[in-house]
Amino acid sequence: MTQLNELRLINDSNILYLKKINRSYKRNEIIKNILNDETCFFKMNKNDAYMILNDIGILDNQIDNIYQKLISSDEFYNLYKGKKLDLNDEEILIKYPIYNVDEIFKNKKTTSDNDESTHKNMELTPYKESFFIKILNRLKKIFSK
C-alpha cells in the first residue's frame, strides 16, 4: 500500500470516529479533499505538509521521514510516468528534472555492423589461450601417468 493511501485511511478513520462522537471533522474533510490529489504534497510547502501530517496523527519523530518519502524523486517520477503529474501544472512547487534517455546517450557511439565479424576473426585472447593450455597440460600429465 502506498504511503498516501495509508494517510487517507487514517484520515478517513479519524472522520468516522469524530462523527461517532459528535465532534467537528471539518479539518479532516478538507484534508481528505487535499489527499484526493495524488500530487498534493508536491503542491505545498514543508510547513503546510507538516501541519497536515500532524493533523492526521503522524508522530512527531516520524513526520520528517514520511514527508521525505512523499516528496521523493522516485514518487515524482512515478506520478509523471503514470500521467498523474503534469510538469506544466503551475500548482506544482516541488519539481525534479525529467531526463530524456535518448538525449542523455545521444553522443554515445554505437558498435558498427562489422564488429561481429571482426570479433570472429580475432585471435583468442591471451586469457582464453592460457585457459586451454592449462587444460591441455593437465591432460598431458594425466596421460603421462
Binding site: M1, I21, N36, I58
Partner: protein
Amino acid sequence: MNIISSKEEINRMIDGIHTILSLPEEQYNLLIQKIIPNDKTIESLQFYYLTDGCEMPDNPIQLGLEQTHDEDGNFTGRSYYGGTNFSMYQILQECQNMLKNYPSDSLESSRINEILHTRDLSSFKTLYSSSNNVNPLLLDKIFEILSSDDMLSKFFDYSNNTEDFIIDGQEISRSEYLKHLGQIFGNKDANGNLSNRNRISSDFFIPDLEELKNRYSQIFDEINIDRYVNPSYTFSRGPEITDSVIRNGEEPDWEIAPEIRESIFADLPKDLSLEEQAMYIYCKMCTIFSYDEGYMYRDKLSKVNYESTFSKEHLEGLMPGDKITCYDFSRMYAKLINELDGDITAVMILEGANEGHALAGFYTENVSATVEAINVASDKDSTNDLMKAKNGIKLKGVKTISDREGLIEQALDKVYPQIIGKKPQSIKEYIQELKSLPQEQDVPNDIVLKLQSLLEIMKSNHIFGNEFAQTLWGIGKTKYFGDNKLERAYLGELQRSDDGSEKYKRHILLRQPKHEETEASSREVYLIDTDTLDLLTCSEEDIIARLNSGELIYESEKHKLPGIDKEVVE
C-alpha cells in the same frame, strides 16, 4: 510461394531471383498470376535451397516454383524450413537493383519489370480501392497530396481549398481523406517513427515511399489523425485484452426516466461543443447519483445491478438521488452520449474476464476518453467522482486516450463551475481554508470506537487479511490510538471442518498499555478477526481461558502479551 534453387551461388535472395528469372515460361506465368494481389490473398515469396532441411524429404525434388499440391489434392511439397524471410519490398528492391545488369531488351529485364509492376503504386491503389470500396480517384488524390508540397499545404488549409479536393463533383470532408491516410500508413511508435509493418511498406515496392511517408508524417504531426490509426481511440477493444466493449445497439433498448433527463438537461447551455456536452453530462450524473456501497458486499447480497448483466427493469427504475453501481453509471452515460447530435460515440467497457467492473468511453473527431466515476479498488488509484462532484473537488475519473488540444481539460474547466456553482479548489485554497479552522481540543480517546471506525474504513476499502495486519501495524505507529501504542500480538483460532481437517484463522490481539500501578489488574482486550474484521471486546481472562482450552494459540512463543498466557498445570 516457394522458389527452390539448387544450391547457394551468391546469396539466398539473389539466387532465388535468378531462379525466377530462369523459370520455364509456364511456371513463370503461374508465378505472375499468383503474385498479383487480390482481395482474398496477397502472396509472399520464400526462397529455399535443395540443401535446406525439410519435413517431407520423400516427396519429389522440385526446382523453381514449387507445386505444393497435385491434381488430386495430394500434398507434393517438401515443407522446407530454415532460411530467411524476406518481405516483398526487400525482394523487389533487389530486383530493381539487378535491372542494370541486363540489357533492356532481354528476357530477364522484361521479367523484372513485369514483377515490379505487380507490386507498384498502381497495383496498391487497385487493391486498396477494391478491398475498401473506395473511389480510385480519391486514392489518386491522396497520393497527389503526398507527392506535392503544394497540395500538402492546401490540405493543411483545407477549409480554404476545398475545391482542390472535390472528387466526381462532390465535396469530400477532410476526415474522409484522413481516414484512408491513417489506414494506409498507420501510427507512429513511441519514438515517433512510422511503422514498416503495414501493407504498403512490406508487400509492395514503391520507390518514392520514403518521400510519401515524410509528407504523411507531417500530416500526422499537424492534424489529429489518431482516430484512424489508433484502435484504442474507437475502443476496437478495451484497455486490457480481457476487457469487453459493448457498443450502441448491442444491448436491448431501454428508457431513461424523464426525471433523470430533466435533472441532467434542464440547464444545459446551448452553445456547448460535443466534448463540453460529454463532460457536462458526466459532471451532472456525478452530482445526481451516489455510490451504492452495498456492492462491496456483493458476495453476500444478490442484486441485479451488482453484476454486469443487463436489466431493463432495474435501469428504467433509476431515479435522481439513487445509489448506483459502476454498471448503472456506465450504461446510462453511454446511452445519453449516443443520443447527442453530432459525431460522438460512446461505449461501455466491462473490465476483466469476470466483468467485475465497468466504465464508459467516448470519442469524437478530436478526442477519445474514458470516464470512470466509480473505482474503489484499493490496488488502483481509487476514484469516486460521485463524491468529488458533490464536494467541489476536482474530478479524477476522466482519462484521455487522445486529446491533442487539451479539449477535455478545457471542457471540464468550463462546465464544472456551471454545475457545481464554483471552480474546483486548488491545494493552496484548501490549505488556506484549513488554516482558518481551529483544531479540535480535548478529543476523547475511545479505543473501541476508534477501532470500530478503523475497521469500517478497512472493510469499505476491501482491506482484509495480511494487508489489514500490515496497515494496522503502520497506523499503530501514529497517534491514532492516542499517545501510547497499543500492545499487539497475533493469535490463531483453531477451526475444524466437517471432513475433520484443521486450520487456523488469524486474529490480532490488542491491549492498551497499563498506565498506573493502581489500575485494575485485568484490562479490556480487543480481538480482531483478520478475515472478517469483526471486533470482539473481552477481558484478559476470556483470552486466557481460550488459550487454556487450545481454541486459541499464540502465533509466536516469543511475542505474547505479558499476563495473557496459558496457565501452566503443575
